[in-house]
């Protein structure tokens, strides 16, 4: 929202400097995006009178002129008469004209924001020209570059910017601040607030006006019928016919005022509607009465309705569109002539031949306007304002303002008939009651009740003090005031939040509860980073093709309906896809061996959050991938490497490592997606209650190929919700020495390490002497020929009571060997 400081000053006193004011607006009204010092752009430019013009001796189209600047400009070469000579090529230059002179050293305003062009005294075809006379376009006040600007009311030596009101500051306040403040989309609203934050009373004198500039003539002279078929979407529609207007360019004051705010001057009629809008926030529209009549069946008629199928309209911007079926359109009884609240039609435009006009001042549903604007990409000044919800109580007042300006000042003409005013049940804002101590408690202040009332009254609230309560009736333009908290905000803002006393909340010594899952994640993060792995983060969304490559069922993944690109279409059901996808690029970047890990939340269609069944189940996963570009066959499978990382973060001694190939996936449907990228014969699932909650293994060949993974690559993924605690255990240390002995068992190859290890361990635990602690660790797994393999384990045992003998330990191992022989046909070597 751009605001002209000069315009604000017409409405209220501003005693602050520009910097102070901008600071105050920022703190008490909304963030200021930019302050433009327009005056700077016009520095040094003065009004001058052309005294004489002669043809240039060496050029047909140029004139040599002498001008009188009242002698105000220093450091310029003057003749004996004190006049200045320059060369001008404008067709309209003539003696007697008042013009804008750009002396040497000034910058052409039209070039100011681009490549600033600084003038100097120079020869043009042998004649010295001291600066130039400028066209409206060179002065950046309109697009007109047909000739130099002719100034009507000034005297030589006047500052040009002052004459044109360009000694102005434009303060641009972020629109976002005003989402709920329709009134601040007019200079009037901003001026009122500026008064309020300076603790000064404001009074909107326009709203007191109740007299028409001229009494209206009979309606029959130029009859107009208006029919509103959409009373819900258009709560108020006002129209006024004016006869015999003179359409012409606006006064330079009006033109300049609008151009400063970025509004292009069209003609005096359109400019009045824009002036009224910039002043009050209420958009208006003007139609050519006779064009409307021609497009009507008989009498001039305006109908507010929805478009019929196939109906099209040519808009003022030249585009032809078919408005969406729910749009609010303005039509005659035959044809569309505008999209209500968005843009008028080209066929009823007010132009230089227009004699009679219809002025519209209406109120449209903000949501409907917004959707129409979005669907057709029409973002006009009117749309900006209507979408904030303008008050329908202002239409008659703004209409009066505009009508008086047209008839009384800008274009003449006669009013035909009374205002046409079709309105539904429009209610004024309701009073809000807020207790004085309530307001102070919310702000942490101790303001007096009268002080509060004054702050509110300054911006035209009607306040009654009933004991400790403020009964606040908002003015009609404050559609945002509904609850006592709104009064708190108003008082706080007008008082100034920067003056509030700061005070920390009192707290008890109760320690805040710690979230176990977050703790676990932090511990795991530290451990894995210390194990040389790198934490990364991936998007929560992946490409459907990636899920296909991994072999996951994308029907079970939540799909975005408005994804930015196909790359970000599906929510992940597991972390593996995007994690594996990051391997190749890092290998290519020259890293040969690395482990990447990620924490993430995953979702699976059809599973709901226990305890909150309206939202999908959200599980916390951890995944890690380890890879090495060079495969050393002596290392064996990468599976064991991934497992090594997994063993760092959890006590895995009681885990069941089930070969993926042996697990019946029908038992766990989500599990199918979890294990999809893993090679069944070279991966294990971690199972609890028939549910997979973790997987570790090599990657399937086709997946590895699709993602360009090296042969030595393995990964794991676990559901963190199932790990109750971080790996952490302690056993007390025995005082007696420990004894270590090895046992080598030759078993048929099909016996797994886990089966044998488990048997030996349970046998030792069952038969070992009392009060001892044992650890059993693998030393070697050796397989020379197919049918057998040899597993060597080391037993370390110590007693809390005595020194153990080698003999009894060896006996213990013999017992274990016997059990292994019985169960697996094992042979102790």
């Amino acid at each position: 929202m751009k605001v002209s400081l000069n315009w604000v000053k017409e409405l209220t006193d501003v005693k602050l400097t520009v910097d102070e004011l901008v600071e105050k607006i920022g703190v008490q009204l909304g963030a200021v995006e930019e302050v433009i010092d327009l005056g700077k752009k016009y520095e040094g430019i003065v009004v001058a009178k052309v005294v004489a013009c002669e043809k240039h001796p060496n050029a047909d189209k140029l004139q040599v002129c002498t001008i009188d600047d009242g002698g105000t400009t220093p450091d310029v070469k003057r003749g004996k008469d004190g006049l200045v000579q320059l060369v001008c090529g404008a067709p309209n230059v003539a003696a007697g004209l008042l013009v804008a002179w750009l002396p040497p050293g000034t910058v052409v305003p039209g070039s100011y924001d681009k490549e600033a062009f600084k003038l100097e005294a120079r020869e043009i075809r042998g004649v010295v020209s001291n600066g130039m006379l400028a066209s409206p376009s060179e002065l950046a006040i309109s697009d007109d570059h047909g000739g130099i600007l002719e100034i009507d009311d000034a005297k030589p030596g006047d500052s040009f910017s002052k004459v044109y009101g360009l000694d102005d500051y434009i303060i641009d306040i972020e629109n976002k601040m005003f989402t709920h403040r329709p009134d601040l989309f007019g200079v009037l609203g901003v001026a009122r607030e500026i008064a309020g934050i300076q603790h000064k009373a404001f009074h909107t004198k326009f709203w007191d006006w109740n007299r028409l500039a001229k009494p209206p003539l009979k309606a029959e002279l130029l009859p107009l019928q208006v029919k509103n078929e959409l009373p819900k979407l258009v709560p108020r529609f006002m129209a006024q016919v004016i006869r015999g207007v003179e359409v012409k360019p606006s006064s330079s004051k009006q033109e300049s005022r609008l151009s400063r705010l970025g509004i292009k001057s069209i003609n005096n009629i359109v400019d009045v509607t824009n002036w009224a809008m910039m002043l009050t926030g209420q958009p208006m529209h003007a139609y050519d009465y006779d064009k409307v009549k021609t497009l009507s069946g008989g009498q001039a008629t305006i109908v507010i309705r929805h478009p019929k199928p196939g109906e099209k309209i040519k808009l003022l911007n030249g585009k032809i569109i078919e408005p969406r079926p729910e749009a609010i359109v303005i039509a005659t009884d035959k044809e569309l002539i505008g999209i209500g609240g968005v843009m008028g039609g080209a066929d009823t435009e007010v132009d230089e031949n227009t004699k009679n006009i219809i002025l519209e001042c209406a109120n449209f549903d903000m949501y409907s306007i917004r959707r129409t604007a979005m669907e057709h990409g029409l973002f006009t000044e009117a749309v900006t304002r209507f979408t904030k919800g303008q008050s329908p109580l202002q239409n008659d007042k703004v209409m009066l303002l505009a009508v008086n300006s047209i008839v009384g000042e800008e274009a003449g003409g006669d009013l035909i008939g009374e205002f046409i005013d079709i309105k539904g049940d429009i209610r004024p804002p309701v009073s809000v009651h807020a207790r004085h101590d309530f307001i102070n408690a919310r702000l942490g202040l101790e303001l007096g009740i009268k002080e509060m009332a004054k702050l509110l009254e300054n911006v035209e609230f009607d306040v009654a003090i009933n004991g400790p309560t403020l009964a606040v009736t908002p003015p009609f333009w404050r559609t945002d005031i509904e609850i006592p908290e709104d009064i708190v905000e108003e008082v706080g803002r007008l008082y100034g939040y920067d003056h509030l006393p700061l005070e920390l909340p009192k707290r008890s010594l109760t320690p805040p509860h710690k979230d176990k899952l977050i703790e676990l994640k932090n511990q795991i993060r530290n451990t894995l980073a210390a194990a040389g792995a790198n934490e990364l983060q991936n998007y929560s969304f992946v490409h459907g093709d990636l899920l296909d490559k991994i072999g996951q069922d994308k029907e079970r993944a939540f799909k975005l309906s408005n994804a930015l690109s196909p790359d970000l279409q599906y929510y992940r059901t597991t972390l593996a896809p995007s994690l594996l996808d990051k391997v190749h690029m890092n290998l290519k970047a020259g890293h040969n061996e690395f482990a990447l890990f990620e924490f993430g939340k995953v979702h699976y269609k059809g599973e709901w959050e226990p305890g909150e069944p309206s939202v999908p189940l959200e599980d916390n996963h951890l995944a890690l991938v380890i890879t090495n570009n060079k495969n050393d066959p002596q290392q064996g499978s990468a599976y064991y490497r991934a497992r090594k990382f997994l063993e760092q973060i959890a006590d895995t001694s009681d885990w069941r490592w089930v070969p993926l190939a042996d697990f019946d996936l029908n038992k766990d449907k989500w599990g199918r997606n979890v294990v999809a990228p893993y090679e069944p014969k070279r991966a294990a699932v971690i199972v609890q209650d028939d549910e997979i909650w973790g997987v570790v293994g090599e990657i399937k060949t086709d997946v590895a190929r699709a993602l360009k993974l090296p042969e030595y690559t393995a990964a794991f993924e676990i559901n963190l919700g199932k790990i109750s605690d971080f790996k952490n255990a302690y056993t007390s240390l025995p005082r007696f020495p420990k004894v270590e002995q090895d046992i080598s068992l030759k078993v048929p190859a099909k016996v797994t390490y886990g089966e044998l290890f488990g048997l030996v361990r349970s046998e030792i635990n069952a038969k070992k002497p009392k009060h001892t602690i044992t650890t059993l660790t693998p030393l070697d797994i050796y397989q020379k020929e197919k049918p057998h393999k040899q597993i060597t384990l080391r037993l370390s045992i110590a007693s809390y009571e005595r020194t153990l003998t080698d003999k009894e330990v060896n006996g213990l191992l013999d017992e274990a060997a016997k059990a292994a022989e019985k169960k697996f046909g094992a042979l102790r070597l």
């Binding site: 601040m177 949501y367 706080g492 909340p505 320690p511 790198n534 990364l536 994804a563 002596q634 393999k789």
Partner: protein
């Protein structure tokens, strides 16, 4: 298969040998030799073209089948014993090992979240994570966004086909946080929670904009909570974070879920208001905040005439970027080791 034309037979031999060595066997179909044979067809006299072309096609077909069949074969790998801690016959020095500690790293965003969470906990706040997929009710309705309100547009959100929402702010947890702690509140203990987590906005990606980023959100509800407490809490929190005294500044703002609402700025901790590359003119806008709207409390089952609260929400990425002088927000989600390994 034997080829009658010598040139093609030679090419077949060369290409079959190469195929055996290729990582992706289908790449053999892109070989220049094969393309050259196809090119050659055009240059031949018309009477020879048919026979030559037929053989080239046969060769291509054979290579294609070989590429396919080798793919089948490779899939059948030998099973391993997954219950063992290492593979068979692996010498001691080749047993599975971790990587060098000095190569490891924590993600910079998560590191920062740990720092922010630590401060919050020391100030007496709980830390709770946020959902990454939520419903319209938590994301909008429970936060006092009227239906169809244009404010919903500012939060241009991703949605699933079913209408679930990728949360655009951590405030999506406010209703859950408040309603779950109602008893605690009634027992006289204020609700005080920090929510740091990932959020999503439908926004095009560039050096300064990410569609996926992180927020930290504070929620405090108690008796007689006022604006001065909100501002004091934020000042304290941020002074602790930046490790120095700061000046603060608020600007009125509009959020549907707070009333009044503010944008909150601190004097730039890097230049002490002198103006620098980070802040521009001396102030750093750091978060949005306000007193929790009574409707939000009411929808969480808390009586707004008895209790009031404040909330704030700020971005994490920007804090990390100014801290380390990172010039492109896209690095965070890039997964590039060269980036990640700089954050031990």
């Amino acid at each position: 298969m034997s080829y009658k034309i010598a040139e093609i037979a030679n090419a077949a031999e060369v290409l079959k040998k190469r195929l055996a060595k290729l990582e992706n066997r289908a790449d053999v179909l892109k070989a220049i030799e094969l393309r050259a044979l196809y090119e050659e067809i055009k240059t031949l006299p018309p009477e020879k073209r048919a026979a030559f072309g037929k053989e080239v096609n046969l060769l291509k077909q054979e290579l294609q089948e070989l590429a396919e069949s080798s793919k089948q074969k490779e899939v059948s790998k030998d099973p391993i014993d997954v219950t063992a801690p290492f593979d068979v016959n692996v010498p001691t020095d080749k047993r599975p090992q971790l990587l060098a500690s000095d190569k490891g790293s924590k993600h910079p965003i998560m590191k920062e979240i740990e720092i922010l969470s630590d401060i919050a906990q020391r100030m007496g706040m709980e830390v709770v994570e946020s959902r990454h997929l939520d419903d319209d009710w938590h994301m909008f309705t429970s936060l006092n966004f009227p239906k169809d309100h244009p404010a919903r547009d500012d939060y241009d959100t991703f949605m699933t086909m079913e209408g679930f929402i990728a949360p655009a702010h951590t405030s999506t947890m406010q209703n859950r946080i408040i309603s779950a702690r109602k008893k605690q509140l009634e027992a006289g203990e204020p609700i005080s929670v920090l929510v740091p987590d990932r959020v999503f906005r439908n926004e095009d990606l560039d050096a300064r904009h990410e569609h996926t980023f992180h927020q930290h959100e504070g929620v405090y509800v108690g008796k007689d909570v006022h604006v001065g407490q909100l501002l004091a809490t934020l000042k304290t929190f941020l002074q602790e974070y930046f490790g120095k005294e700061l000046e603060i500044k608020t600007q009125p703002f509009y959020f549907p879920f707070t009333e009044p609402s503010f944008e909150f700025a601190v004097s730039c901790p890097f230049c002490d208001k002198a103006g620098c590359k980070v802040c521009g003119e001396g102030w750093m806008e750091i978060l949005g905040c306000g007193l929790i709207h009574p409707n939000v409390l009411r929808m969480a089952g808390v009586d707004p005439t008895l209790y009031t609260g404040f909330a704030w929400g700020g971005g994490v990425e920007r804090l990390v970027m100014v801290k380390y002088n990172i010039d492109d927000v896209r690095y965070f989600m890039s997964g590039k080791l060269d980036f990640l390994r700089q954050f031990v």
